[in-house]
Symmetry: C3
Subunit: 336 residues, 3 copies
C-alpha cells in the first residue's frame, strides 16, 4: 500500500528524490504518465490551493479527478465510531471512504482537527481511522496535526531559493481572529528540523506547541544535525534568520475552550508581521506562509507585497510536488 | 433517442446483456471507448455515489463530465409549469435543461420526489417534464419513484454473489428520523420481482407501498415467474431469506403530512436491523442497502460491519453498471 | 499576454474572424487542439451556462478545467485593497489569483458589480485589479459592466439567423424583483452598435443607462455605421424591429439604494414581454435574452415557448464562441 501521510515517513534522501522528481516533471513534462488514472478528493474542510492544485496536477500528468465535499452537494458524514446517527449526518465514513476508494485509483482526504480534545487530535485518531478505511494509494491533504504536501512544497521552495540546509528558520505565531489548528505549525516545525535547519519557534506565552510536537521535531533535528528551540522574544528569535515562516494557531493550553482562548489571544493583535520584524534578520531573509492569510491581521500588506515574500512560489510548488507524490503513488513506491 | 429511465423498459435478457457488458468492461477495460464524449450531470438533490461514480465511470471510458448543482454555485431552478417566478428561483428547467443538453452528449438528472402529493409523485410528473426537455441521451439518476442505476447495480451484485434468480428477497422498511422518498423501495421491489425472485415486503402498519407500486412489481413477477407478497411479521418474512434489503421510506398514508407521519413513525425505532433479525433466514443470507445509511438508527454497526453486509460491493457496482449504460447510450442502442 | 476582456478590443473583422473560427470548430471538430491545456475558472457569483459551457468547451478541444467558487468549498475572498481582514474572508484575491494562475494555462473570472457606487463599478476597478493579478491568458466571464462571451454569442446568433448588420435592434428593460447589474445591458448595447445595427434602448423613466455606457455605444455605432437611440415609448421603439432583446437591470439613478430602487420599480411590473409587444415589429422579429430569465415576471411563457424565441440557440452559442476564444487564447493571438 502506497501512502503519503507524514514527511517523517521519508528519509532526507527520499525527500530529495521526491523533490528531484518534481523538478524533472517541471522541466520535462510527462503529459501521459498517469493516463487513465483517477484521483478521488474528499474535502471535509475548505480548500483553495489543495482543491485546485491536485486537480491540475492530475491533468498535467494525463489523469483525472473528482471532488466530493460533504455538506455541499453531498451528505454530511459522521466520523465517530459507534455513533447513533439520528442528527445531521446521513452517511458514515465507514461507508463513504470504501465506496469512494472503489471508484478511484488513489484517494486524498482533508480532515481538520476537531479542536475539542488535544490528545485525540495529536493521536490523529480520526484521520488514522479514515486512512485505514481506504484500500487504495492514499494522500493526506491536511489532517489534525499534519500537512505533508505543504511541507514538501515549502522544503522545495527553500531549495529553489538556495536557503542553506543549516540556515536559521523562525516559525512565528501570528494573530488570527480565532484559534486555528496545529497541523501546519506542527508539520512546518518538523519539516525544517528534518531538513537540518536551526529552528526557533517564536510564540507568545500560552502558545507553546505541545510537547509531543516539539519532541518529534527534536528527534528529526537530532537525526539531521539541526536544532530546535523556542522563545517569546522576537528580536533574539529573528537575529540572523534566513526564513521567517508565519503561522496562526490556537493555544494548546486552552484547547477546546474558545472563550478562554479568546481572552488569551485578545491582547496579542500586535503579532502581525511588519517590515520592522526583519531588522535583525539576514538582509535576504525570506518571508513564508502557507496561505490563506488575513492581510493586515496576521501579516501586513507591505510584507506580503514586498520583496521578501515567497508565498506565491510556495503555493505554486504545491502542484509541482504533488505531481511527484501522485506519480510515485500511482506508478511506483516510496517510504522508509 | 436513447434513455435509461426505468429498468422496466428492459427485458430480463436486455438486463443480462447490460450486466454482461458491465463485466466485460471490468475485465477488459476500454479506456478510449467514449473519448471526446461529455456527460452533463444535473443534481437537484445531494449525492455521493451517483456524483462520483458517474464522473469516474466516464473517465474510465475516456470521456469527461461536468456537474451542475442548483442552489450551489448555480441559480435555483423552478420546475413548475406556468409558475410566476417572483421568488427564489432565477431559472426554469425549461431553459436550463435544453441549454445543458446543448453542451453535452448525454445528460443525467437527479430530482427527488416533492413529497407533497402522492399521485403527482407516482406519475413522475416533474421528472417526465424534465426528461422531455432533453434532446440528448438521458439517464435517470433517481427520480420521484425510480432509481434504475441502483437497481441495475443491485441485480448485478446478486448475480455476482450467485443469489438464485428464484431466491427469497425481503425488502424491509427500517427507521429513519424523517420520511424519505419511495424511489428506492419502489425500484428495488420491482427489480427483485423482475429478476424472478420470491419477494416479500416487510413493513409496519401504515407503511404499505402504494398499490400502483405493488401492481407494477406483481406484473413484473408474473412475467418472470417470481412472486410478490407483503407482511408486517418479521419472522415469517425472513424465514429462509436469501437477501434482506433494508430501506427507509415515508408512510404513503401520511404523504405530505410530516407531523402525522412523525407520530406514526415515533414508536417504530426498533425497526433497526440487528443480527437477531437473521435468525430464521438462510445461514448465508446477504444484507443489502443502497446507502447512505444511518448507523445504529436504520441498521446496527454489527450488521454493517459483519460478514453478511454487501453494501460496499453494491455501491462499487454502481460505477460498473453505469459504465455499461453510458457505453450503450453513447455508442449503441437499447430498450424494449 | 492574451486577454478576452471586452468586445470593444476587437475590430469588426476580428469579431468576424472569431465567429468564423467558432463555426469551423463546430463543423470540423479539433478534439486534440488544446490537449494538455488547463483552464482555471474562478466564480465569485453563480453561473449555469458559463460554468458548464467553459468546462464542456475545454473538453471538446481536448483540454480540461477546474472550478473554484469562494464561499462554497473554498475560503471567502477579499477584494478590497488595504483591507484589514478580520471578518469573514480568509483569503485575498492578491494571493488567490496568482496562485490559481500558477496552476493553469488560462484563467477565467466572474465577478459581478458590487452595486454600491456606480462610478466604481463603471470603472471596473475591482475587475481590473483582479485581471492585473493574472499573468496567464485571461477571460472575462462577466464583470461589473461587461460580458464579452455573451455578446460574442449573441452576435453569432444574429449572424446564424441572417439578421442584417443594419437591422433594428431593441434592447428593452424588463421587470425583475430586484435591481440587477448593468453588465449585460451595457455589453449588449455596445455589441449591437459595434455590429452596425440601428439600436434603440427602450426603458422606463429612471432606467436610462449611464452616459458613459451610451457614449461607448455611440462611438462604436459611429465607427460601424450604426446608430444608438433611446426611448420609453414601446410602440415607437419596436416599430420595424428585427430583434427584441430583453434584459433586467437596476436604476442607475438609485444605484446602491435598494429601498429607493424598489419604490421606482414597483409600478413597472407590466414591463414583462408579452406577444402583443411584437405588434409593430417585423413579422420575423426575433426574441433574445441572455438567461437566466424569470418566466412570467420578465418574459411571458408564450414568448419564451413561442416561435420568436432564440434564447436556447444564444445559450448554445456560448460554448461555441468560447471554444474559439480559448483556442485563440491558448494557441494564438488576437486583439486590436
Amino acid at each position: 500500500m502506497q501512502r503519503f501521510l507524514d514527511l517523517d515517513d521519508f528519509t532526507r534522501d527520499q525527500v530529495s528524490d521526491l523533490i528531484a522528481l518534481a523538478r524533472r516533471l517541471q522541466d520535462h513534462p510527462e503529459p501521459r504518465a498517469l493516463a487513465g488514472k483517477i484521483l478521488g478528493l474528499l474535502f471535509m474542510n475548505p480548500s483553495l490551493r489543495t482543491l485546485s492544485s491536485f486537480q491540475a496536477g492530475m491533468m498535467r500528468l494525463g489523469g483525472s479527478s473528482f471532488v466530493v465535499t460533504p455538506g455541499q452537494g453531498t451528505w454530511q458524514v459522521e466520523t465517530r465510531t459507534g455513533a447513533v446517527m439520528n442528527a445531521g449526518a446521513a452517511e458514515h465514513v465507514r461507508e463513504a471512504i470504501p465506496v469512494l476508494a472503489s471508484y478511484c485509483d488513489a484517494l486524498g482526504i482533508r480532515s481538520f482537527a476537531e479542536g475539542r480534545d488535544l490528545a485525540t487530535d495529536i493521536a490523529e485518531t480520526q484521520f488514522r481511522l479514515m486512512a485505514g478505511l481506504c484500500d487504495k494509494p492514499f494522500v493526506n491533504m491536511e489532517s489534525a496535526m499534519n500537512h505533508p504536501c505543504q511541507s514538501l512544497a515549502d522544503w522545495k521552495t527553500m531549495d529553489d531559493l538556495a536557503v542553506p540546509r543549516t540556515g536559521r528558520f523562525v516559525l512565528s505565531w501570528v494573530y488570527h481572529p480565532r484559534a486555528l489548528p496545529l497541523a501546519v505549525p506542527a508539520a512546518t516545525l518538523h519539516m525544517a528540523a528534518h531538513r537540518g535547519m536551526e529552528v526557533v519557534v517564536l510564540r507568545p506565552d500560552g502558545y507553546a506547541l505541545p510537547e509531543s510536537v516539539m519532541a518529534k521535531a527534536r528527534a528529526a533535528a537530532k537525526a539531521s544535525g539541526g536544532s530546535v528551540g523556542e522563545t517569546s522574544d522576537r528580536a533574539s528569535a529573528l537575529a540572523g534568520a534566513h526564513v521567517l515562516y508565519a503561522k496562526e494557531w490556537g493555544s494548546p493550553e486552552c484547547y477546546g475552550n474558545a472563550a478562554a482562548e479568546a481572552l488569551l489571544r485578545e491582547p496579542l493583535q500586535d503579532w502581525c508581521v511588519r517590515d520592522d520584524w526583519f531588522e535583525g534578520a539576514r538582509p535576504d531573509c525570506h518571508f513564508m506562509h502557507c496561505l490563506p492569510v488575513r492581510r493586515n491581521v496576521a501579516v501586513a500588506d507591505a510584507v506580503l507585497d514586498g520583496p521578501r515574500s515567497r508565498v506565491i512560489p510556495e503555493a505554486a510548488n504545491r502542484m509541482v510536488v504533488q505531481m511527484a507524490v501522485l506519480y510515485r503513488l500511482l506508478k511506483g513506491s516510496f517510504g522508509r
